[in-house]
């Protein structure tokens, strides 16, 4: 019996030892595929990359369609019809994963005085991304977005766009100030400027210019003040200041697979092709080409003779389109992405001068904008070059002062029409916002559409109604309560 007791005891001792081994459980339970800490710069860098390597389909499907840049058989945007699966990708691909990184890393950076410039850069980028979201959807979760981790908020309220814009200004001012006082500090994880803080300051100021000009309809006084402030802070001065994301095969440009999707895919729109043909625009043979077939069916370029270009027309009786986006330039994985074209800064300043917000020679800025955009194309694959002579000839033919309408308004139209031409592919979402802000270019809506009205606000993602129902419905009430392409729905600054 003694022997037995001993055996029992030793057995339970063994059991105790076995189950006592729970001390390393916490470590064992860490995600084995992850790491427990990373350099904050890596999170910022990742956010910058993901801003343009994610699925850009809403930009293509809607913004390209609305702005009559192009046509694809399956872009519901052409008929001003919503497809939630596409429309929600902007939301999903910016909130997650771009803002996921930024919302996490910004509070971390706040505590690091040695990373003040990085902190400022992350805040600038956060404004950049949220502005795209709010301009796309209107009122959006902002103050409570990204607070699931720190405050356990999983149904964030939707903030009025006006408040969001006010915070953009606060954020940009603070960031610009931080970059001024820490100009020698390297920005960690900087994909654009090799960590150069003054360049980030220019980007911040340019963004402030963009934010300011957005307000011309709702608050011209503040618009003028912000534009003045931005220019004083120092906006971008050349294409060298432009934030460009150089993609790789592994982290490709988000348009890569969108531009070769099928048979009836990405034809240039007749509106754009005609405008450019009439203007004698040397960019037309870079934007598009006559293809024998779709890219996915191994289509090859038949011609870059722009006289042969036929764009897609809303009118079914017009000739069949033959001109597709130039895939080798815009569609490759390594095509760099122009996150904020410098040309825009020039066009905005030209308009601001005409509106009397700032002083200067509007025409100089107009010409600088056109020139910058034409020259920037050489940064794309196959490095198409537009010569200075071509640029000069173009400017001669297309002056800011519109001979048909030699008024300030006529010039504003010309500037913003150029803005439109220059924003092809990369900046279609910004061009859509600019069109809503200025009304230019003047576009005739698709007569075959039901609403016959180019939408001015995207519907909210359908998932919000099941996951954040009360808040999205409260926000939707400000837009007529109908979550479709509601022609009457406009974002706050687009009154």
């Amino acid at each position: 019996m003694k022997n037995v007791s001993y055996k029992i005891l030793s057995f339970f001792f063994a059991a105790f030892v076995m189950t006592g081994c729970t001390k390393n459980f916490a470590k064992y339970n860490l995600n084995p595929d992850g790491v427990t800490s990373v350099d904050p710069g890596a999170l910022l860098s990742d956010a910058l990359v993901k801003t343009s390597d994610q699925d850009m389909q809403p930009r293509a499907n809607y913004c390209h369609a609305f702005m009559q840049y192009g046509y694809s058989a399956f872009w519901s945007g052409t008929n001003y019809v919503e497809a939630d699966g596409i429309g929600s990708r902007y939301w999903n691909n910016f909130y997650r994963p771009v803002l996921n990184n930024l919302e996490y890393v910004i509070p971390v950076l706040k505590t690091r005085t040695d990373l003040a410039s990085t902190y400022a850069a992350a805040r600038i980028w956060r404004v950049y991304v949220y502005q795209k979201l709010t301009d796309f959807y209107g009122d959006i979760p902002y103050s409570q977005a990204g607070k699931a981790l720190t405050q356990n908020i999983i149904t964030p309220v939707y903030d009025p766009q006006q408040q969001i814009y006010a915070d953009f200004v606060t954020e940009l001012r603070a960031s610009i100030a931080l970059l001024s006082s820490n100009s020698s500090q390297m920005v960690q994880g900087d994909q654009f400027y090799n960590g150069n803080a003054p360049e980030w300051k220019k980007l911040g100021a340019s963004l402030l210019l963009r934010v300011g000009m957005r307000l011309i309809k709702v608050d011209p006084t503040q618009a003028a003040a912000l534009v003045k402030e931005a220019v004083a802070d120092g906006v971008m001065q050349s294409n060298a200041d432009m934030p460009i994301l150089n993609h790789s095969v592994i982290l490709p440009n988000g348009y890569n697979f969108l531009l070769n999707d099928g048979d009836n895919h990405f034809f240039l729109h007749k509106t754009l092709a005609t405008e450019m043909k009439v203007a004698g625009d040397p960019r037309l043979q870079i934007y598009g080409a006559v293809y024998d077939n779709s890219i996915s069916a191994h289509g090859v370029i038949l011609s870059t003779d722009t006289t042969k270009y036929i764009g897609y027309s809303f009118n079914g009786a017009d000739p069949t389109p033959n001109t597709r986006v130039n895939y080798d330039i815009y569609g490759t994985e390594v095509t760099p992405f122009f996150d904020f074209p410098y040309a825009e800064v020039e066009f905005l300043q030209a308009e601001a001068i005409l509106r009397g917000y700032i002083s200067g020679d509007a025409n100089v800025h107009y010409q600088a904008g056109v020139t910058a955009n034409m020259q920037s194309l050489s940064k794309l694959p196959t490095a198409p070059t537009i010569t200075n002579a071509q640029i000069a000839a173009y400017l001669l033919k297309n002056p800011m002062l519109n001979p048909a309408n030699p008024t300030t308004e006529g010039s504003i139209e010309k500037i913003n029409t150029e803005f439109w031409v220059s924003g092809f592919v990369f900046d279609a979402d910004e061009v859509w916002a600019n069109w809503r802000r200025t009304g230019y270019p003047k576009l005739v809506p698709n007569p075959g559409s039901v609403s016959q009205t180019i939408p001015r606000k995207m519907p909210y993602p359908q998932t919000e109604f099941s996951l954040n129902g009360a808040n999205v419905n409260a926000a939707l009430a400000n837009y007529g309560g109908v979550n479709t392409f509601n022609p009457k729905a406009r974002v706050w600054w687009d009154k």
Binding site: C21, D33, Y95, Q191, I250
Partner: protein
């Protein structure tokens, strides 16, 4: 010697059965030396040295020395003391010495000693010696069976080969033959001098049940419900995955095998859905070792094999021929000893092993099954390819709306919205004009599918030795499924060794090696790359499906119509190879006769490789995809246990305690390349683009546990058991403070055999037991979610990139999920066990569900891991079995089972709120609704309940004044139904006549709905019968139209005809389809299986080496007696997990016919 082996085994396995037997015999005889027999070698020499010792003790002493059984009437030896001293005496001499002064005489028959008063012996001594053999229904000998002469005290036991020899007075004598676990038979001796007596299993009276942790108990001891099924149930009428053969056979067990190809995952649900998260699949324990059985189907598991097909759940690797029995532990009390992970119940699988002292045995089983696809039913063949109720015209081919008709690329080529089919000429998709005639599903299925053939051959060798046994089994399954190029192969090799080392060490080792190959597993869930389920409803009903297979000289499909099922056959390769080692080792050490120590360990190692290839083709517009994934999963389990059994007068005690360590890891590697250089070459390097390999080590978890159980029995009719288990989970641990990692799972149960306790000896109620239990189980938490980590991303431009790992917010704190279940039940048998009834009622409350619900992306995360909800399941189960007819040659057995379950979500975390939890498209959980209910848009109704119609243009594409109506959509999310059946059950009839046995199973489910997304497509394409309603423009629905506004409605009676075309298609726009029109009842009654078996007569085999041979004809899934869902299979589902209830038009079902041959040597 042989008898001895039997008695020890009896003692180990059926201690209380033994007691029962003893009690019955005590009135006349008492058996001594039964329990005391030990495994020691018996001496034929008896040594005795007793002084005035009770005769009983002396006889015991003799028995101990030589192992003989003694039979006597207790009163004969009472108060008789003897003094005896002998050395090295023979049995005869010893007995003579003992009994010389007593009025007793003895007789030795076959190691059994019968004592009787001297006077009586002469009258019962026999004139006739009867020899014979006792066997079970399969011809296996029953060593130790009791053979008694009716009306006398004489009796013998059968030897190791089941043989016996008994002396009887004459040929009118009646032998009473009994054996534990079998029905007692009375046989008249007759003129036969050699009797072969076949005992059939009583199934009930004394069944030994494998319970949690492999503990064997007699059924009457159980205070909870367990159903045990023999391996034959899954091996004769086989399915590639054994568990599928249990459909309809066990009350409360729902087994569904969605048509996802052979070897695909099965949905196995015990007593309703038990968890919000995970698959709700029970824990599978094979020979004591929990195995990997979780499916990765429809999960975001990063290690999952390509999402377009079902990756299987690992259950199919087990060869049904190796299964001895399956125990289904339904409730929390039965499963509480498994703690976490047992929330959804436990299925214990015991595999076959050799028997000690058994000679060489060879069993050969061959099974051949042919398989035919069952064509989709309920499609319309009145209107054919076309639009607006007419044939396509040249104009349509240039109309931008249908311009894809030109190259047959879009949807329109498949539309059946055309003219009435009357044989007129029409333009088919191949551009040829031919007569407009319907191509029925039956015709098209014949063109597309072939006849499948599955063959399985198994051979098992067993050999018993004096102190052990082994079993070797080899099997090979080849399944050529009806879908061309699709198949399934499995190879199994199992080696099992049982060996005793001395008297006290017993060992049991098993290795099961298996290799399964799934060849071209079908693409599911609407995968556009050729999934048949997606394609078929999208092909016009006047189109010969084989036209889609026509190719040009370059191998390009002539029609680039996207719904082309030939694409998968021709251009998609989706192969899965699984290698598995299931091994276990079990060592028992008998510390004393009452104390036993046991250590069991096992490893389930699973390696799965998948190759997914899409060759460049002109339909899916791919330049070629090459993806190879390898997953290694390992699950180890080590358990130590100490058990104690004893009996004190009226009490029995069974107790055990132990500890366990479980460990589970997964590792996967994913390689992806695309854009083939050579379009026909299959080679990883034949690609223009190669993604960097993705390596994942996840998930990993450890669970440490201690457990114990204590059962008291009183007078063999009252049993009380309490158990407890404490689990420590690594998955609950966090580097942050305040994370509790352990949980205690208690249970208690009571069983009361009132017929024994109250001495009810009615002819009507032959057995009655009531039972009650309460227990707690849990579920294993999802590992690796409690801390925020970062994942490094590919670097770009020389900069490191990293993102937050996963998209799940780590919880602030966690509690383990718990399920508390109380259960009461009764088991009643009537008319000498001819009818038996088992009833159980349970109430199962589950709390603290650990969920990973989807949250708004505006949180910048997409899910949250936290304790989020509670629910209950309640229901009852009935099992009714009976033998309406039972004669020596003919018997009819009926077994009926039914179960009702009700599930209700009772609480969700406030942060989830009204929105509920989305599990899958249209499948959500909300408070007040069953788990996984269907929600979606519904028919708009006026306040007085009439359907609201909205005016539209007609289906001829005109515009202007509205001249038709469709049902208006209510876009607000409405509860549309629940996928869970109200009732499920089955009835099995078995009729046996001589050597023939006919058995058939009908099962069904009542209640429950399905969201049939496939109906969206049959409706949209105008192929469904539903799309016929109003096609001729004559149907004016009885409803109202709102002539006011949405906020101020004015309802007037509808006068316009209904347009199904606008409702369902609207020129290529499916937006007007209302979810409610996709909701169907899931109710079905299925003629599930029929088998006819013929066992070759024993006398025919008498002079051959063949011991038994059985030939069976089998057929499965014959037809539906009732099916409410048109076209598709009511058991199909996109997901076997929480998405259950949503089906995007799965593969068709198949019917199988075949035969099985089982030969034993």
């Amino acid at each position: 010697m042989k008898l001895n082996a039997f008695s020890r085994a009896t003692y180990k396995l059926w201690p209380t059965k033994k007691i029962l037997l003893v009690m019955k015999l005590t009135t006349l005889f008492m058996v001594i030396a039964f329990m005391q027999c030990s495994a020691s070698a018996f001496s034929q020499k008896i040594n005795l040295n007793e002084k005035n010792a009770p005769l009983k003790n002396v006889l015991q002493a003799i028995s101990k020395q030589n192992g003989y059984l003694f039979f006597y009437d207790t009163k004969d030896i009472q108060d008789k003391n003897i003094t005896v001293k002998i050395k090295d005496a023979s049995v005869d001499d010893a007995l003579k010495a003992c009994l010389k002064k007593l009025p007793l005489t003895y007789k030795i028959i076959n190691n059994t000693v019968f004592l009787q008063e001297t006077d009586n012996i002469a009258t019962t001594v026999s004139k006739l010696t009867i020899k014979g053999k006792v066997v079970d229904e399969s011809g296996q000998p029953l060593p130790g069976a009791s053979i008694k002469l009716k009306g006398t005290s004489a009796g013998v036991s059968a030897d190791m080969n089941g043989a016996f020899s008994i002396d009887a007075p004459d040929n009118k004598s009646i032998l009473v033959v009994s054996f534990v676990g079998f029905q007692t038979r009375e046989i008249t001796v007759g003129d036969n001098s050699f009797l072969t007596i076949t005992l059939s299993g009583s199934g009930k009276l004394s069944e030994v049940i494998v319970t949690a942790l492999g503990i064997k108990k007699e059924e009457k001891q159980l205070g909870y419900s367990i159903t045990q099924v023999s391996g034959e149930e899954v091996s004769t009428t086989r399915e590639p995955t054994f568990i599928n053969a249990l459909a309809g056979k066990v009350a409360g067990l729902v087994v569904q095998s969605p048509p996802n190809g052979p070897g695909g995952s099965s949905r196995v649900i015990l007593r309703g859905n038990s968890s919000f998260s995970g698959s709700n699949q029970p824990l599978y324990v094979v020979d004591g070792i929990p195995i990997n059985s979780t499916t990765r189907e429809n999960t975001d598991d990063t290690g999952k094999i390509y999402g377009g097909s079902d990756p299987g759940d690992g259950l199919s690797s087990i060869n049904p021929d190796d299964i001895e029995s399956i125990s289904v532990l339904k409730g929390a009390s039965a499963a509480a000893l498994y703690g976490g992970g047992a929330q959804a119940g436990v299925i214990l699988i015991t595999t076959k092993k050799g028997k000690k002292n058994q000679g060489l045995g060879i069993t050969f089983n061959s099974n051949t099954v042919i398989e035919k696809m069952v064509p989709y039913d309920d499609l319309q063949y009145t209107y054919g390819r076309g639009v607006y109720g007419r044939l396509y015209t040249a104009d349509d081919f240039t109309n931008p709306l249908f311009s894809s008709l030109k190259d047959n690329s879009g949807d329109a080529p498949g539309w059946s919205w055309g003219a009435k089919i009357e044989g007129q000429p029409f333009l088919d998709i191949d551009g040829k004009t031919k007569p407009y005639v319907a191509q029925t599903a039956a015709q098209n299925f014949d063109r597309f599918f072939k006849t499948g053939l599955t063959t399985t051959n198994s051979i098992a060798l067993t050999k018993g030795t004096d102190n052990g046994s082994y079993r070797i089994s080899l099997s090979d399954t080849k399944d050529n499924s009806p879908t061309p190029n699709e198949g399934y192969d499995r190879y199994n090799a199992v080696f099992r060794l049982n060996q005793d080392f001395g008297k006290r060490f017993h060992t049991d080792f098993k290795v099961d090696l298996s290799r399964t190959l799934r060849i071209n597993a079908p693409l599911l869930r609407g995968d556009g790359r050729g999934s048949f389920g997606l394609s078929y409803p999208r092909i016009a009903n006047t189109t010969d499906i084989s036209l889609l297979d026509e190719k040009d000289a370059n191998g390009n499909f002539l029609s680039i119509y996207s719904a082309n099922p030939y694409l998968q056959i021709e251009k998609v390769k989706n192969n899965q190879t699984q290698n598995r080692v299931l091994s276990s080792g079990n060592i028992t050490y008998d510390i004393t006769d009452h104390f036993h120590a046991n250590v069991i360990g096992g490893i389930d190692y699973l390696n799965t490789d998948n190759l997914f290839v899409v060759y460049p083709n002109n339909i899916a517009n791919t330049g070629g995809v090459y993806r190879t994934t390898g997953i290694d999963q390992q699950r180890t389990d080590l358990r130590g246990m100490l058990s104690y059994d004893n009996k004190f007068k009226n009490f029995t005690v069974n107790a055990f305690a132990g500890a366990e360590i479980q460990n589970s890891t997964q590792y996967s590697l994913d390689l992806y390349a695309y854009n083939f250089i050579d379009p026909t070459l299959l080679n990883f390097n034949n690609n223009k683009n190669v993604n960097p390999p993705v390596e994942l080590h996840s998930p990993r978890s450890k669970t440490n546990s201690v457990f114990g159980s204590l059962q008291f029995g009183y007078k063999n009719y009252l049993f009380l058991e309490v158990t407890g288990r404490n689990d420590w989970y690594s998955a609950l641990a966090s580097t942050r403070p305040d994370f509790k990692v352990n949980l205690f799972y208690p249970s208690a149960n009571i069983s009361y055999v009132f017929t024994d306790a109250l001495h009810i000896d009615s002819k009507v109620l032959s057995f009655g037991k009531i039972r009650a239990s309460i227990g707690q189980t849990g579920s294993n938490p999802t590992p690796n979610l409690t801390d925020l980590t970062f994942t490094l991303q590919p670097s770009l431009n020389g900069l490191t990139n990293a993102e937050l790992s996963g998209a799940t917010v780590p919880p602030a704190k966690l509690k383990p999920e718990t399920t508390t279940e109380s259960e009461i039940g009764t088991e009643l048998r009537f008319l000498g066990d001819r009818i038996s009834l088992d009833f159980a009622y349970y109430y199962k409350k589950s709390n603290n569900f650990l969920l990973q619900p989807t949250i708004s992306n505006a949180t910048t995360f997409n899910s949250l891991y936290f304790n989020a909800g509670s629910m209950y399941n309640k229901g009852f189960e009935v099992l009714l079995t009976g033998s309406p007819i039972k004669t020596s040659n003919f018997s009819w057995n009926v077994s009926f089972n039914a179960a009702k379950n009700k599930n209700m979500v009772t609480a969700l975390a406030p942060s989830i709120g009204e929105n509920g939890i989305t599990h899958y498209i249209n499948i959500k959980s909300k408070v007040g609704y069953p788990l996984g209910s269907i929600f979606g848009s519904s028919y708009q109704k006026s306040p007085d309940g009439q359907i609201v119609y909205q005016p539209e243009n007609s289906q001829t594409g005109d515009s202007g004044v509205p001249n038709s109506v469709i049902i208006a959509k209510n876009s607000n999310e409405t509860y549309l139904g629940s996928a869970n059946p109200d009732w499920s059950g089955g009835i099995t009839n078995t009729v046996t006549y001589k050597n023939f046995s006919l058995s058939f199973l009908i099962d069904g489910q009542f209640g429950g709905q399905v969201y049939e997304a496939g109906a969206t497509w049959t409706n949209y394409f105008g192929n469904s019968k539903a799309s016929l309603l109003g096609r001729d423009g004559s149907y004016i629905p009885n409803g109202v139209i709102n002539t006011g506004t949405a906020t101020a409605p004015v309802y007037v009676k509808n006068t316009l005809p209904y347009s199904p075309y606008i409702q369902y298609n609207d020129n290529g726009n499916a937006d007007k389809i209302i979810d409610q029109s996709n909701i169907f009842s899931r109710t079905f009654v299925k003629f599930r299986q029929i088998s006819l078996a013929y066992a070759l007569p024993k006398n025919l085999l008498a002079h051959t080496p063949v011991r038994s041979a059985t030939f069976s004809l089998i057929a499965r899934n014959l037809f539906f007696i009732r099916k409410d869902l048109p076209t598709f299979d009511p058991e199909a589902s996109d997901s076997i997990g929480q998405g259950f209830g949503y089906d995007s038009g799965g593969l068709p079902t198949s019917r199988t016919y075949g035969f099985n041959l089982n030969v034993s040597f």
